[in-house]
């Protein structure tokens, strides 16, 4: 242990600890802006500077290791002046039109200026111009960027895509797309992790809520909304109510209060995904056990898939695979994501069922995700009626903003049911929003499909939790040992693929989610700087699973009815057309 003094207080901390960590551990707060533990310890903003006795200049607390006998002042007059000056410098080049900013009220710079009691900026304003293709789902606003470099680091170190880089030098240094590419040229997975780690409003998802309002206001349009599993774990975080009070049924009421004609649940499509993907996996798995790898799998479903099979519900992951390992596209499940399955059914099965022209349906999807905004725009996702199956995707943040803007008093909302028939989902569906959930749900049904018996719904807990790379082997009587892996975060996905390629690991089924911890920590979820709520939100979903009366996708009565009335059977002809894709 290293002994030191901070603000006159005797403190002990482990060797290798930074001044910032040692101070925090002993109850002394040091303000900061650019620091992210282990990911961005670069001492760039110079807000966390402190005075160390015997050292002439101030030092950054975030990346200076403690030394024996060190005496630190975290708030001396010199420190206070330098810190205030640096924050004023940053403010002088920051577009301070806070009221119209996407991060108004949830901004580290705003908070810092308030905490340091900065009420004016001595220096002249010199705010750079914005140049960005705002049609892209990820929007960067140069005039708000404070050059903390967090976006660069999260993309490099966590997501391994290196989309961002420092551009220019000297006073013109900024952040831009790496290698002088435009964002459309770069291999951006659209995971949105740079957005949720931006301390200010310099990065945001394209706001599509006005398009939703326009559709809601048009009396000739039938508006349908689906809500992803993870949205229910975070939708009301800005309304000051507890997670227990913010039930899915209250969320259904909130959506109805916005004026949607039908409030449905992506959980329905998640159960459907399990039916299709589970069946596909069993086919691929049993086929991989037989000798002929390229055998025709079934009459309707003619794509002998490669092993291991990768899940395909996360569009960030699918974008990643297409740009980084296009040769492995064949390993993806051909099942569309729940969002797109849902969209295709809305504009076919459901339109038929209620007897309307699918062209009059406006299909909205609420997602914890930014990549979904691009998935719904894929040119091939028009299987329902020829129009886009999902017309617009809004993030959990946009939903929250829409509720605020319509003065919906969320704490006073009653609980209401989702509409039928696309509004039902099992416990197996709701866990799609947490890392390991898709695997867990798939194994529950795959087990049933092979054995004819349900497994214990909690038999597969080894795949749950926020750990970045989990693996397990489960024995399915009659089929054998199934080796599965679950990764979240694209850096982990890359490591797994590299290990697979080198033959260091071997799996049959792999779940990948682009965002660390899965959709609960998605790039479209409410932003909480410097504190990850991913695990907490994930636990909400696992609780909802435990509390569900039905915990197996193959027991979702509405899904079974859909097969009965319309689709026939999993991997059947109609499923193939509506629910599968070749990942062009």
């Amino acid at each position: 242990m290293v002994k030191l003094t901070i603000n006159g207080k005797k403190v002990e901390a482990k060797e290798g600890t930074t001044i910032l960590q040692a101070a925090n551990a002993s109850g002394i707060a040091i303000p900061f802006l650019c620091y992210m533990p282990e990911i961005n310890e670069i001492g760039a903003c110079r807000v966390c500077v402190v005075e160390v006795e015997g050292i002439d200049s101030l030092v950054a607390a975030c990346n200076t290791k403690i030394e024996e006998g060190m005496s630190v002042l975290t708030n001396s007059p010199r420190v206070r002046k330098a810190r205030r000056t640096n924050v004023q410098f940053i403010l002088s080049q920051h577009d301070c039109n806070c009221p119209t900013c996407s991060r108004n009220g949830n901004c580290s710079l705003q908070d810092l200026a308030r905490e340091l009691n900065i009420q004016d900026v001595y220096y002249s304003y010199d705010v750079p111009e914005n140049k960005w293709d705002t049609s892209f789902p990820l929007v960067r606003i140069e005039s708000k960027c404070i050059k903390c470099m967090r976006c660069i680091q999260i993309c490099d170190k966590v997501q391994s895509l290196n989309v961002w880089d420092v551009s220019g030098t000297g006073g013109r240094t900024s952040v831009d797309v790496s290698e002088n590419r435009t964002i459309k040229e770069a291999p951006c997975a659209l995971c949105g992790q740079c957005i949720t780690n931006c301390p200010v409003g310099a990065l945001m998802a394209r706001d599509d809520s006005e398009r939703v309002f326009e559709a809601l206001e048009d009396p000739d349009i039938i508006t349908i909304v689906q809500v992803a599993p993870a949205v229910r774990s975070a939708w009301a975080e800005s309304f000051g109510i507890s997670r227990e009070f913010a039930t899915p049924k209250r969320m259904a009421a909130a959506l109805r209060s916005l004026g949607f004609d039908y409030v449905f649940d992506t959980n329905f499509a998640a159960d459907l995904t399990i039916m299709e993907e589970g069946a596909e996996f069993i086919e691929r798995f049993t086929n991989s056990l037989s000798v002929n790898e390229n055998a025709d799998l079934s009459a309707e479903h003619k794509h002998p898939g490669k092993m291991p099979m990768f899940t395909s519900c996360c569009p960030g992951w699918v974008r990643f695979l297409k740009s980084q390992y296009p040769e492995l596209k064949g390993n993806l499940s051909t099942a569309k994501s729940p969002q797109q399955m849902f969209g295709a059914l809305t504009k076919s099965y459901f339109a038929e069922k209620i007897g309307v022209d699918p062209k009059n349906i406006f299909s909205v999807s609420v997602m914890p995700c930014t990549a979904k905004k691009s998935e719904c725009d894929l040119p091939e996702m028009i299987d329902g009626c020829g129009d886009p199956d999902v017309d617009v995707v809004i993030t959990t943040r946009e939903l929250s903003n829409m509720l605020h803007s319509q003065s919906v008093v969320v704490p006073l909302l009653p609980e209401e049911e989702f509409d039928s028939p696309l509004g039902s989902g099992t416990g197996a569906a709701v866990v799609f929003g947490a890392s390991g959930g898709v695997m867990d749900a798939a194994l529950r049904s795959a087990y049933f499909l092979v054995t004819g018996e349900n497994p214990d719904p909690d038999a597969f807990t080894a795949v749950r939790g926020v750990k970045g790379w989990k693996e397990a082997t489960f024995n399915v009587p009659g089929a054998g040992d199934v080796r599965v892996a679950v990764v979240s975060g694209l850096g982990n996905a890359r490591s797994l693929i590299e290990a697979l390629k080198k033959g260091e690991v071997s799996y049959d089924f792999v779940e990948v989610m682009a965002c660390p911890g899965g959709c609960a920590g998605g790039g479209g979820q409410p932003i909480n700087m410097n504190e990850s709520l991913t695990q907490e939100r994930g636990e909400v979903l696992w609780r909802l699973d435990r509390e569900s009366a039905i915990r197996y996708s193959h027991e979702n009565a509405d899904v079974l009815a859909l097969y009965e009335e319309y689709l026939g059977k999993p991997l059947g002809e109609r499923s193939h057309h509506l629910l599968h894709t070749e990942h062009l």
Binding site: A44, I55, T64, K65, V166, G168, T169, G170, N180
Partner: protein
């Protein structure tokens, strides 16, 4: 009231001198990798501040150049701006009254021409051509990318074995470079912004001298691939070392009796003791490199046979033939090349120069080696004749000063005209033509021109020509290797042909250059050969770099290496330098600013942990 007064410098003038000194030091240690347009703009601003303001072009025009460059950076310029910039600069160059204006405009014009691509990127896309990739100047400027701040930090904590292992990650010749490296790493050392560059080579020499025998790391599992390396100098052996570590089976073909190339056959022992060279080579061979000595490619074994019997080949034959002066009498007895002299010394063949007058022709490091070797061989008098000025010599200044201290006579601005030969065919004198420095050439040195003075005679028993080296390309030319400027032509990857099987590097591809450049070429070739062979066996080292310690940055003097007394050292071939003491090396290490931790290094590119 007096008619005249002695003018003392005012306080402001004294302060101005300080400012100029600061500017000079700052510019001299300018970091690499900056936006050239931004630098040109700010340099032009500074130039304008130096204008007295009397004349229109300088007073107003320079400001207009600054404005246009600023427009480029602010995204307000168009393609037309480049033309206007050039024509405006031309008008200022043409019409400025004095050099303050015309030279400033000339620099802007040259910048605009040199950085046209950068300017276009700013105009069309509003950004720099390339991102910053050079956070740590010493690492960036080392051709082999050695982790300089890392080994300085290790040396500062007394972890010398780890320091040596860290250097070997990028350079298997840590000892050789500790002794003979031209240390480009020091040229832009950020410490020079405070006082002067860190004595990086001095620190490395201390590591080399005090780390003992350090075995190489374990080889990767055998790949079953065979690689031939032609030439056992620094380039060839570096490639051999890394390829061996990557698991390939390597055979080095060397023409001479011993390995080492120019480190043995070009550099005299007083600059680099042989037993130290052998230590570097032993560590390299310990990785399992197979060596075939005394093999001449083309005579003992054909080039085709080598290429056919190996999976890949690296050619690193160096530049071992002397250039000719093409003067009368050059072929007579008593005239030899420096290459020839030093090669013999490398094999411990010491010709007797006792009592003789020796004239060495040339001004490079090899000329200094020949001069100082001749002194050690007992010559009565040694002249070093050079056609330019001392300041124009390509030899390192310390080499020239060392030679002078040991008693060499420098005769500058004297071009060799012819060699006088007696009836027996022995050289008796060198006739030289006095020169005057003329116009500056593209390399920045004045071209020597004949002065209006008569030829002079320097009587000599021996004349040693040290005016350059060439590559023996014949065998490779016949083998269809492309050539350029008398050297083997390679792609930046080291590949000779597009198919990737044959690689070349070092002096034979660049012409005579520093050892570290050949080492870098060997490193690059090893990585690309490994990839060509279908592997991805990365080189790394398990050494943890000490965390940066807080230190004040007050101005302190650099601790230099000293030399043995000149009158003593000139009598033998023993090593001439006295390395840093433990105390000295600690002081020097503590001056390091740790650019791998402070500044851009904290964000990106501080170190390449594996390659």
């Amino acid at each position: 009231m007096s008619r005249l007064e002695l003018i003392a410098k005012s306080r402001t003038e004294q302060d101005m001198d300080g400012l100029y000194n600061d500017m000079e030091r700052r510019l001299g240690s300018g970091p690499p990798g900056l936006c050239p347009v931004d630098l040109a703009l700010n340099f032009a601003s500074l130039c304008q501040a130096q204008s007295c303001g009397k004349c229109t072009p300088c007073r107003i025009g320079l400001g207009k150049l600054v404005e246009m460059l600023k427009d480029v950076l602010d995204g307000k310029a168009t393609e037309k701006t480049i033309g206007v910039l050039e024509s405006t600069a031309a008008a200022i160059i043409d019409s400025a009254d004095c050099i303050i204006g015309s030279d400033a405009a000339r620099m802007v014009r040259d910048s605009v021409r040199a950085f046209k691509d950068d300017i276009m990127e700013h105009i069309t896309k509003g950004r720099c051509l390339a991102g910053t990739s050079a956070p740590v100047p010493c690492v960036k400027l080392c051709p082999a990318g050695v982790d300089v701040p890392g080994y300085i930090a290790l040396a500062g904590e007394g972890r010398l074995t780890d320091a040596l292992r860290l250097i070997r990650k990028d350079n298997p010749f840590p000892i050789a470079c500790a002794y003979v490296c031209e240390h480009p790493c020091e040229t832009h050392c950020r410490r020079a912004m405070i006082d002067s560059a860190i004595n990086i080579r001095g620190i490395k020499q201390y590591i080399a001298d005090h780390s003992g025998i350090v075995p190489p790391p374990q080889n990767a599992a055998s790949t079953g691939k065979k690689v031939a390396v032609i030439g056992g100098g620094p380039g060839g052996l570096s490639a051999a070392y890394f390829l061996s570590l990557m698991g390939h089976s390597v055979t080095v073909y060397e023409r001479r009796k011993k390995l080492g190339g120019m480190l043995r056959y070009g550099i005299p022992a007083y600059r680099f003791p042989r037993e130290l060279l052998d230590r570097d080579i032993e560590a390299i061979l310990k990785t399992g490199v197979d060596v075939k000595l005394g093999i001449n490619i083309g005579t003992d074994i054909s080039l085709d046979e080598i290429i056919d019997s190996y999976d890949s080949v690296f050619v690193a034959i160096g530049a071992h033939t002397d250039s000719k002066a093409r003067i009368e009498g050059e072929d007579s007895n008593g005239v030899m090349s420096a290459v020839e002299l030093l090669r013999g010394i490398g094999d411990e063949e010491h010709p007797g120069f006792v009592g003789k007058t020796v004239v060495v022709v040339g001004g490079g490091n090899v000329a200094m080696d020949a001069t100082r070797t001749s002194i050690r061989l007992g010559a009565k008098k040694v002249y070093c004749v050079y056609r330019r000025r001392q300041t124009d010599m390509t030899a390192l200044p310390e080499e020239v000063e060392g030679a002078i201290a040991e008693g060499a006579e420098l005769l500058t601005l004297k071009a060799p005209a012819r060699i006088e030969v007696d009836a027996q065919g022995n050289a008796t004198a060198l006739w030289i033509k006095p020169q005057l420095p003329g116009d500056i050439d593209s390399g920045g040195r004045p071209t020597p021109m004949d002065a209006d003075l008569p030829e002079e005679r320097i009587s000599a028993d021996l004349i040693i020509m040290a005016i350059g080296q060439r590559v023996e390309t014949a065998v490779f030319e016949e083998g269809g290797f492309p050539l350029e400027w008398g050297a083997l032509k390679t792609l930046p990857s080291g590949e000779v042909f597009q198919n990737g099987k044959v690689f070349a590097g070092g002096d034979c591809a660049t012409g005579p250059a520093a050892a570290i450049q050949a080492i870098a070429a060997g490193k690059v070739a090893a990585a690309n050969i490994d990839e060509y062979l279908g592997f991805d066996n990365k080189i790394s080292v398990d050494v943890e770099i000490p965390a940066a310690r807080l230190r004040n940055k007050n101005k302190r003097g650099r601790v230099n290496i000293t030399e043995r007394e000149a009158s003593e050292r000139k009598k033998d071939f023993d090593y001439i330098e006295c390395g840093l003491t433990q105390e000295g090396v600690e002081k020097e290490c503590s001056r390091c600013l740790r650019c791998d931790h402070y500044g851009f290094g904290a964000l990106k590119g501080a170190r390449v942990e594996k390659w």
